[in-house]
Amino acid sequence: MSRKIRVLVAKPGLDGHDRGARVIARAFRDAGMEVVYTGLHQTPEQVVEAAIQEDVDVVGLSILSGAHMTLFPRIKQLLTENGADDIIVMGGGTIPEVDIKELKAGGWVEEIFTPGTAIETILAWINTKKNAHALQKNRKS
């Protein structure tokens, strides 16, 4: 039996809109994942440190302040610098389509879920991604 999927739900930025992050964290937990929620006002450095320390498979970033074009790249960059490039990065928030395209094209985030997305959709996406990553890892080793 493989270990449970471990997810870090993080809330970078200075705003207090944690409603989405907390609903997601709880839904992931109900779906059998191990979830760590960082709380508010996290710097990219703190998020990455927590992700590595907690040995997570997925980092979910909830960003509603509008600073997504700064925060996603910064976090992805720090993960890479710390040898944690294999962690899946996904995001959520009110993020415009052009920005999502740019962030995905730049490799800063694998997927972004906007408000109204069903929890089921996100869970299914994580499972697919996780399996794909596991396959890739096996091939490499």
Binding site: L14, G16, R22, T94, P96, T114, P115, I119
Partner: protein, 559 residues
């Protein structure tokens, strides 16, 4: 009160109606509830308000218990204030937007701040990267306040600052501006939000620990009671409690529990309840349940009147009278099919007006996407003007009074609110319940259940989980619909802050901050020292920084 025999007869007839007539037409869903999960029956009759005493429970507008309105003529006397929220980028940019909305007919000025300002950080703080001027105006010092009000006569406008934990710094900068122009604060009308506890448990934009934040709030109240006769020193705000998932009774209950915590502390400080209560107003969310919202506004006025008269023994009728601002709810707006939000805003605006608010903001239809464009701002103002001048609802005061359902629901909302207020009181008050995470858990449970209901389709959201056009599914708003703040604002703001820090009188800055620190250590009222610091062009970060050294910073428990 209705005659007992009449009630008996109505009951018999109603039961017969249910058996003989209603039962032939089954309902289309298993249960009916308000958006706050209050069950709704088949029909409401005099049975549901049989204990209602008109003079005791409703009375007349402008008189205790104010259920029917805060003022006798309501909108027949003076129309509510159109107060749309404004705050974008630098002080210069916001100044332009203020002048724009004033030309469109807005009668009150409302300032929203960027996140670094809201949590007491200067624009050049490392945590502020990417956030300067993004969701509101950036104010670092008196110099920015001067730019914000350039060309706007202070005495003519009615001002509003959506600021909470850093109120001592931001209000001090405004007072410094007024005094520098040779004017007196005695003649200036306005409002500071200044409701710190809900920042800790709902809005989550905080600086100080709950109890310390209440101490500084009492400092501002004490100062206002003496020197700011036309200023509404606190605008207790239920909006974030609702937006973060609370029901209508959480919104009222937690907001009034905050008020009780503040008044208890203020009275311990020796402030006379009648010197401060008339200067406190309330702000509410407008959720999507039209009738429940109207009931809420009516219940709120009655609860406040009772708290002031029965709990605090206020004797000035102005203290019993609750004046309210409302804003249509952000979380009821959707990212999908954003034009639908125009309709949601109109329904919400109607509920607020029928509920008798004194001032109103209709959230702009593009707010689920970004901060509003000029076009969206104008449309929200026009919506209010259509309600005011075309719909006819302003010609009559409290038209829903006497409706069996409305009076029953008003009572029901009031009863459920008292339960929350009493529960918190028994657990040691709201500051304690915030610090130990009790409130946070209460709201988190509520929002999780609501979200599950939306996902299961029990709560229909038009354009999201129902009536979503196939071709629009998964389609995101296009670039042309999104207003963007120019990206060089942050650089400009930081450059101007750096220049200020170089050019100001350094000795005066140091002395003012030293004095503030000493006064805080002695637990004195910090207001006079903050005003002196603002006049010396100390920055917000420096003023709040000095206070943090003494009062600490809030670290909430996580789930």
């Amino acid at each position: 009160m209705i005659n007992k025999d009449d009630i008996e007869n109505i009951k018999k007839s109603r039961e017969a109606w249910q058996d003989n007539t209603l039962s032939k037409l089954p309902p289309c869903q298993a249960k009916f509830e308000t958006v706050s999960d209050i069950p709704i029956k088949d029909i409401y009759t005099p049975e549901d308000i049989k204990d209602l005493d008109y003079l005791r429970d409703l009375g007349f507008p402008g008189e205790y218990p104010f259920t029917r309105g805060a003022y006798a003529p309501m909108n027949r006397g003076r129309q509510w204030v159109i107060r749309q929220v404004v705050g974008v980028g630098t002080a210069e940019e916001t100044n332009k937007r203020h002048k724009f909305v004033m030309q469109q007919g807005q009668t009150g000025m409302s300032n929203d701040f960027d996140l670094p300002t809201l949590i007491g950080l200067d624009s050049d703080d490392p945590l502020a990267v990417g956030e300067v001027g993004r969701v509101g105006v950036s104010i670092d010092s008196l110099e920015d306040m001067e730019k914000l009000y350039n060309g706007i006569p202070l005495e003519k406008a009615n001002h509003s600052f959506t600021i909470n934990h850093p109120t001592v710094a931001i209000l001090s900068m405004f007072i410094a501006l007024v005094e520098k122009q040779g004017l007196s604060m005695e003649k200036i009308a306005g409002t500071t939000q200044n409701d710190p506890l809900k920042e800790c448990f709902a809005m989550k934009v905080f600086v100080f620990p709950p109890k310390a934040s209440v101490k500084m709030l009492v400092d501002t109240w004490e100062y206002a009671a003496r020197f700011l006769p036309k200023w509404n020193i606190s605008n207790l705000n239920g909006y974030p409690t609702r937006d973060s998932g609370g029901t209508v009774y959480h919104e009222l209950g937690l907001t009034f529990a905050s008020g009780i915590q503040y008044f208890d502390e203020a009275i311990k400080r020796g402030i006379d309840v009648d010197a401060i209560a008339p200067r406190i107003s309330l702000m509410w969310y407008v959720h999507k349940d039209f009738l429940e919202e109207i009931a809420k506004f009516r219940a709120a006025r009655r609860i406040w009147a009772k708290i002031m008269k029965e709990r605090y023994h206020a004797i000035n009728p102005q203290s019993w009278k609750l004046r309210m601002h409302a804003q249509t709810g952000g979380a009821t707006y959707t990212f999908q099919q954003p034009e639908n939000n125009i309709v949601r805003g109109t329904i919400g605006g109607m509920a607020a007006v029928l509920g008798g608010v004194q001032s109103l903001a209709i959230a702009c239809y593009d707010e689920a996407l970004s901060i509003p464009s000029e076009k969206a701002h104008k449309l929200s103002i026009r919506t209010q003007q259509v309600i005011a001048h075309e719909s006819g609802v302003t010609s009559v005061v409290d038209p829903f009074a006497g409706s069996y359902y409305m009076e029953w629901l008003t009572n029901e909302v009031e009863e459920r609110t008292w339960k929350i207020i009493n529960d918190i009181e028994e657990r040691g008050g709201l500051a304690v319940c915030t610090e130990n995470g009790y409130i946070d858990r209460m709201l988190a449970n509520q929002v999780y259940e609501y979200n599950k209901a939306v996902e299961k389709g029990e709560q229909i959201v038009v354009g999201v989980n129902a009536f979503a056009d196939e071709e629009e599914k998964g389609k995101l708003p296009s670039e042309k619909d999104i207003f963007r703040v120019s990206s060089d604002n942050e650089e400009k703001q930081i450059a101007s802050l750096k220049r200020l820090k170089r050019e100001r009188n350094q000795l005066a800055v140091k002395n003012a901050l030293d004095d503030l620190l000493r006064a805080s250590e002695k637990n004195e009222n910090v207001m006079p020292y903050c005003i002196a610091a603002a006049k010396a062009y100390c920055t917000e970060g420096e003023i709040i920084g000095a206070l943090k050294k003494v009062y600490g910073e809030y670290e909430p428990s996580t789930i």
